[in-house]
Symmetry: none
Subunit: 413 residues, 2 copies
Amino acid sequence: MKAEIITIGDEILIGQIVDTNSAWMAVELNQLGIQVAQITTITDTFDHLVKALNEAKERANVVLITGGLGPTKDDRTKNVLAEYFNSKLINHQDTLDHVIKFFGRRGMATSQVNKDQALVPECCQVLFNSVGTAPGMWFEKDETIFVSMPGVPFEMKELMKSAVLPRLANLSGRGSIVHKTILTTGVGESALAEMIEKWEDALPEYIHLAYLPNIGSVRLRMSAFGNDEFLLHKEVDAQVEKLKALVPDAIFGYGEETLAGVVGELLLNKNASMASAESCTGGHIAHSITSVPGSSVWYKGSIVAYANETKQNLLKVNKESLKEFGAVSEQVVRQMAEGVLKVMNVDYSVATSGIAGPDGGTEDKPVGTVWVAVSSKSTTIAKRYNFSNLRERNIVRSSQTALNMLRLLLLNE
Amino acid sequence: MKAEIITIGDEILIGQIVDTNSAWMAVELNQLGIQVAQITTITDTFDHLVKALNEAKERANVVLITGGLGPTKDDRTKNVLAEYFNSKLINHQDTLDHVIKFFGRRGMATSQVNKDQALVPECCQVLFNSVGTAPGMWFEKDETIFVSMPGVPFEMKELMKSAVLPRLANLSGRGSIVHKTILTTGVGESALAEMIEKWEDALPEYIHLAYLPNIGSVRLRMSAFGNDEFLLHKEVDAQVEKLKALVPDAIFGYGEETLAGVVGELLLNKNASMASAESCTGGHIAHSITSVPGSSVWYKGSIVAYANETKQNLLKVNKESLKEFGAVSEQVVRQMAEGVLKVMNVDYSVATSGIAGPDGGTEDKPVGTVWVAVSSKSTTIAKRYNFSNLRERNIVRSSQTALNMLRLLLLNE
């Protein structure tokens, strides 16, 4: 079973808002085993909508339409739908009663444009909108289902959950899709692809693999299609086990997990604490960690030492080392990691010092040169990396790298 | 002149990522006077892409395509484009050199799949991608321009800015649109709307106003349409002056400026320095500041004091104050701001202490309670705020608020 989403709205076409509705709908449809074949954003004109409806009908069994149902004159969707389905607009009494009550509860009179919200094409089934005034509308034509909903996200979601998704779930003939997302870091997309090439080539035909690269990480998404959800889960899990054997260090988690959250779990298991000393990451490590709810249990804090003076005074970095080797050096980053371990009285620490850019690069140490160190009470490991020439990217990659080095230290100790 | 955007990517169709690329591209195209007629997200299959290209060609002069250019096997866009334009894939030597250098700088060998990134349809003009390995490709067919770019947001943006937008701007036949974005903070969207209602109602018909709310700030975007760009700029600037008189404190900047960048400018003018002491913001203030290139001149660093112990040891917060008033209190946040001022030896400081959530709230201090302080050598100001029950939102709002309090202190001193 296939679906398409049509979004009507100039505010998306001029970039004023990002279309988050479609992503939400796609997730919900996938969970019912309904694949989304296309998402289309169009202007609210007769010709454009009719063309989009006709094209969608060719490819999909279900067409979900959002937007264009507001009370103002620039919203014409309802009229277009009436004409498209050769129907006329009639008053829907239950909706009118609801609209009047809706405004009454807010101490407001119901104007004519609001009353007109109760006009619907005669041929549709009305879907009650408990949180707004524009009702949902369900049409069936030539074996295709069309559903029109308001574009306001919480109204659309409420209608989907209360009316649309239950009806779609009831329709027969739906397949199952099982998704599993494997999170990796420390290996680039193409290197990863080579390492797992044979495994990928040997995947059964009904399992698709997608590479989703982010800054400093690559997510691998497996999607298995079939009829028996239990068997699909079993096969996907078996494939994940094979993958883990190929790239054991690269995989740090699954689904919605984060690297900082995973490091936190490892620390919690050891009843241990950590802190950070940040130069080039400038607080990004601290922010990644403190975005994890409950991180205050295992994270004591960070010293963001942007000035050399701060590195000396707060992290006890040797003045001579700074002078001799520079702030971006193995010597200094090791001292930063060891310094914050003592100053914050923690079991583990990470430290970064690098040239984020755009300025500050030299021939020896071009922009993107970053030293990262991790430290425990018994050892300190430091590595040099050469990232890119983009400041924000260097910050995020350095931060990810520091957390990953700590993750590997915690795992391999 | 009309454009369409075609996005290729299963990850959008299954709802794993939200399509933010299209909104960004739409804004940029609008600024050149190019309207976006449709945005289409499709799967990476031959038939689907060819159909989408044909349909877009009917409606638009420019078709921008993103995604499907990765080195892995699930990316087929380039092959489809070659066939669509009746061309064959050839090696592009400049791109190959760049790819080899790209991996070489990272100390990595270039694999065959990476070398294949340099294969492009013979008929296209190659657009150099300085920040990635997949080049942009510019095609012209039957009076329509097609541009293919990688889907990774920062690569797409870099290609758009360096190559695509300048070329499109040179094309004739465009009308003028003048945009100006005014950045405000400290006043909510509806309060702001009431304060500027009369001004908004009196705007000339050819100037549109849009409210773009973000966490902790509202951007006001004015768009003026007409033929004489000079006159449009003049009128927009005159309207901005009127607006400034209505809400002088709320406006902190324009366009792409950031609050941290504006604070930095004010500090530079005074030849002054700053530092931060962060509890609930957990490094977000430091990260906002250090995202500004060159901030190391005026920013010495941050002490992220997540543990009370760290507040005592590093920020010299009184143990008794912590015990008597709790970490989230006026007394403690003042001592944090004054402490970091001394410890880091700076002229100004900000400090935050609050309950970001989801746990940790009490009846007196529910989740969202945040104390913010700013300090100079002569004064310390502390304020209590009640934000939301969402962790990430509380972190960002607290961070914005701290920077804004410092901005106002610097302005009004």
